[in-house]
């Protein structure tokens, strides 16, 4: 392995995460990896982020140096949870050399690790090995596979996201993870391209129902318009509007399980937004709720009034596949 000086990952920050009906200190790391092997999702701007390594060793060294940077910058004792992202799949061996997983197991032993991946890279033996490495008895489930399922509708996943896997793929990967002793966190995407506000909300509701009891965590991402994406092209031509924050509230309020949500870009025109007047309060409320799990807060926010609520209700009932989006 080529030795390398510590190098900053794409991003790394400390924060709190909801876990087990409470909150934990969490370190989030986004590694620059070999890049997503799929890289065709319509809303994804990370697909061009990759480290162009000439060899597996070089890639490993690059990851190693990023981990070294993390270790040098943060006191790992402060955190009981580590969230790991690449711009693709952490368990894709072409993207993250398997040997690096062993390093992770060593460095983060005793913590809860949540690592994002596409389902096709979930192999029982790889996960068992990592679970074993991480597990020192502190946590019942030391590893979670976070999967961007986005929706449980294959139709929508194919047309609106172009994700390239099916719900069946997801559930069999989830079984493999569970069998390996790992948990599963599902990411859902609220309002991808080509859906009315109502269709998108209905999709989330049925996805919630489909996932209930089958995964350990659900996080819903209201869609945001990232630069240099297919989504952005449509958005610029007025053919897409991010979801209303009202919709986000109503989904969170009625969800059959605890659903976390970080409305990225909330209140911005590229992110989930209402009219601009009420956005700030609602975004803050959703973030608070994601920490506290306090549904009453969501319910109260949904009861607040704003001039744009009529508009939202109108859009929910009257936006149609052949005339959308009705608002910007």
């Amino acid at each position: 392995m080529i030795s390398e000086a510590p190098r900053k990952p794409l991003a790394c920050w400390r924060g709190k995460e909801r876990y087990n009906r409470g909150t934990v200190e969490c370190l989030t790391i986004i590694f620059e990896s070999g890049g997503c092997s799929w890289a065709r999702c319509r809303m994804c701007s990370y697909r061009f982020e990759k480290y162009r390594a000439r060899s597996c060793e070089e890639l490993h060294a690059h990851l190693h140096s990023q981990l070294a940077w993390v270790r040098s910058e943060f006191s790992l004792d402060d955190f009981s949870m580590i969230k790991i992202f690449t711009s693709g799949s952490f368990f894709d061996p072409n993207e993250v050399p398997p040997a690096f997983l062993d390093e992770i197991g060593v460095v983060f032993r005793g913590k809860i690790v949540i690592a994002e991946t596409r389902p096709e890279y979930i192999a029982r033996d790889t996960l068992e090995r990592l679970v074993a490495a991480l597990d020192n008895g502190t946590h019942r489930v030391p590893l979670y596979c976070a999967i961007g399922l986005e929706t449980t509708s294959d139709t929508i996943r194919e047309k609106c996201i172009n994700k390239g896997f099916s719900s069946a793929d997801f559930f069999s990967a989830a079984s493999a993870a569970h069998a390996a002793g790992a948990g599963v966190k599902a990411y859902l995407l609220f309002k991808p391209l080509f859906l009315t506000e109502a269709e998108a909300a209905a999709d989330m509701r049925s996805s919630f129902a489909d996932l209930a009891g089958r995964v350990e965590m659900v996080s819903m991402n209201p869609c945001t318009v990232q630069k240099r994406t297919e989504l952005e092209l449509y958005w610029k031509q007025g053919a897409y509007r991010p979801p209303y924050l009202w919709s986000v509230l109503s989904l969170l309020k009625d969800a059959p399980m605890e659903v976390t949500c970080d409305p990225l870009g909330g209140g911005q025109k590229r992110g989930p937004h209402n009219c601009g007047t009420c956005d700030y309060e609602i975004v803050r409320g959703i973030r608070d709720y994601s920490m506290s799990g306090d549904r009453d807060l969501i319910g109260a926010l949904l009861e607040t009034d704003c001039a744009c609520k009529n508009e939202w209700e109108y859009v929910l009932t009257r936006e149609q596949p052949y005339c959308m989006p009705l608002t910007r």
Binding site: I156, L193, L195, G238, A239, Y314, Q320, P321, Y322, C323
Partner: protein, 546 residues
């Protein structure tokens, strides 16, 4: 199933009558606003089928609903799935309004591949402030989605735009909604009234004037109109050869109208001037035809037939005396302030220069002042000729007229042949008019030879109406071929075998069949006759059994 008949065409706009049990009232005039969800139950079955307008062909091909009933979704990236008689829908058209360049590109792509006898539904696009441009670009069916949304947003809709709801208390409207403080009702009624207005103006064939007015409150409407004007070749066939009433040239864009461009284009490509060595450039007159004005009577007295008379005028450019009755030369009205702007000057000078380059006169005398004189000088420089001047101001003054007359002292009379000039302009043919005599009270003139009437001037349009004998002299074109039946009344589309693609609505045509000949006026373009399945194609004037 909705059935409909197109009764009026005005550019891309269509107006008519539709019928069907689904309609709230049948028959119903269109353009119309409908509760489309109720009228077209198939619309409720299109969940998940959204394909935005900018979507690429492969995606559109996969996801645009097919065989999904009425209305038929058409998409710019797809081949046409619709047939004559369909109601077609351009999904998401409301988003196009914000992208004028795309709007026009998509529109052209869609029109080019969709049968002409279809009704066009623009979902969620209609507001009182957008109806004008939607109708102008050929849409005929609308829904309440847009206005209901504005109601939900607390906005008061007017043709001039959307205003805060308190505008409802400002006394701008006296509809039932306004009298009861019902914003939603007002917005729906305001939409219905504006659609009715567009329908009324389409019926008058004056929608362009309405659009030139309405568009000023909305930069996108202006841009859509201008983009369409810029593609003259595409827009030209949709315009009738003549409209009834005055053509109001009340804005800068009036100069870009198809009628105006077409007049110049035909002047330069079809028109054959008389043999004359001298041309006199004259100013226009408010009274039309110019000949009937006092000033032109004086000009003609001074010229006494010794030169070819060319009238320099805005916005038409150049009108040879023989064409002064041809639409829109006899039909335009323009605000007169004495100021000719640079665009006017450049456009008109260009026409004049091209004309003078095409037809070489030995002498060109400018009997002009002001802007027209400036234009003549620009044109002379452009085509490298030297003007003579019989005045620099007051062309109607005694002195100027005397100088004009003296300038022509040694010139011989030019053969006055209005008919020849008009024939060349209308039919693009160089027809020998020797021996033809005219009678009648100008401009109602009849032409005959050997006591046989050949042509007469339609004073409404300024076009020549040929008799069967007259048609015999028109060597080609403007023919509509029908199958072997004897037309009773107007000729309908289904009977048509072939039609000259040069035919425009309003053109004089000769209907040719094995059982009969007929003269009449085209009610649609030659292309539309061939692309449609129904409707009146030719309004017949006279039938001759063979």
């Amino acid at each position: 199933m909705i059935r409909f008949e197109i009764k009026k065409r005005d550019g891309l706009a269509r107006a008519g009558i539709m019928s069907g049990d689904e309609l709230p009232k049948s028959p119903l005039a269109f353009p119309a606003v409908l509760d489309t969800a109720a009228v077209f139950p198939a619309l409720s079955l299109r969940s998940g089928t959204s394909v935005p307008l900018p979507a690429p062909p492969a995606f559109a091909a996969d996801y645009v609903p097919k065989d999904a009933g009425q209305p038929v979704t058409i998409h710019p990236a797809l081949d046409n799935p619709s047939v004559s008689g369909d109601v077609v829908m351009v999904a998401g058209w409301h988003t196009a309004l914000a992208n004028p360049r795309q709007y026009v590109l998509w529109l052209k792509a869609l029109r080019d591949k969709t049968p002409p006898d279809t009704l066009w539904y623009a979902p969620a696009a209609a507001l009182p402030s957008t109806v004008h441009i939607l109708c102008y670009t050929g849409f005929t069916l609308f829904d309440y989605t847009g206005v209901d949304l504005k109601s939900a947003q607390g906005l008061f809709c007017t043709p001039e735009g959307e205003f805060p709801a308190d505008a409802q208390a400002a006394g701008l409207c006296g509809c039932e909604g306004c009298r009861n403080g019902d914003l939603a009702l007002h917005n729906r009624l305001a939409l219905e009234h504006e659609v009715a207005l567009a329908r009324y103006f389409t019926g008058l064939q004056k929608l362009r004037e309405l659009v030139e007015a309405r568009c000023r409150m909305n930069a996108n409407s202006v841009a859509i109109m201008r983009h369409l004007d810029q593609d003259y070749t595409w827009s030209e066939p949709f315009s009738p050869v003549a409209r009834s009433g005055v053509m109001r040239a009340n804005s800068g864009e009036s100069m870009q109208r198809v009628e105006v461009r077409r007049f110049a284009e035909r002047l330069l490509s079809r028109y054959k001037p008389p043999k004359a060595t001298v041309a006199v450039l004259l100013p226009c007159s408010a009274k039309k035809p110019y000949s009937l004005s006092q000033s032109h009577r004086r000009f003609q007295m001074a010229i006494a037939g010794r030169a070819h008379e060319l009238i320099v005028t805005s916005p038409l450019g150049l009108v040879p005396r023989e064409l002064e009755c041809v639409y829109p030369a006899m039909h335009y009205d323009v605000p007169v302030t004495g100021y000719w702007d640079a665009e006017e000057c450049a456009y008109i000078a260009d026409i004049l220069a091209r004309y003078l380059a095409l037809h070489s006169y030995e002498r060109v005398i400018a009997h002009l002042e002001g802007g027209a004189l400036k234009v003549a000088e620009m044109a002379a420089e452009q085509c490298g000729i030297t003007l003579e001047y019989s005045c620099r101001d007051h062309p109607t003054g005694e002195e100027a007229l005397t100088r004009l007359s003296h300038a022509l002292d040694c010139e011989r009379r030019v053969k006055d042949d209005r008919l020849h000039g008009m024939l060349s302009y209308q039919f693009g043919s160089d027809i020998d008019t020797k021996g033809m005599l005219s009678r009648g009270h100008f401009p109602e003139i009849f032409y005959s030879r050997n006591n046989q009437q050949l042509f007469s001037i339609d004073t409404g349009t300024g076009l020549l109406r040929p008799t069967f004998e007259g048609w015999g002299l028109v060597p080609e074109g403007y023919r509509v071929t029908i199958s072997d039946f004897l037309p009773e009344g107007d000729v309908l589309v289904p009977g048509i075998v072939e039609a000259d693609p040069a035919i425009r609505e309003g053109d004089e045509v000769l209907v040719v069949g094995s059982k009969a000949l007929a003269t009449g006026r085209a009610a649609m373009t030659g292309a539309e006759m061939k692309g449609s399945k129904r409707g009146v194609a030719v309004r017949v004037r006279k039938v001759k059994k063979l």
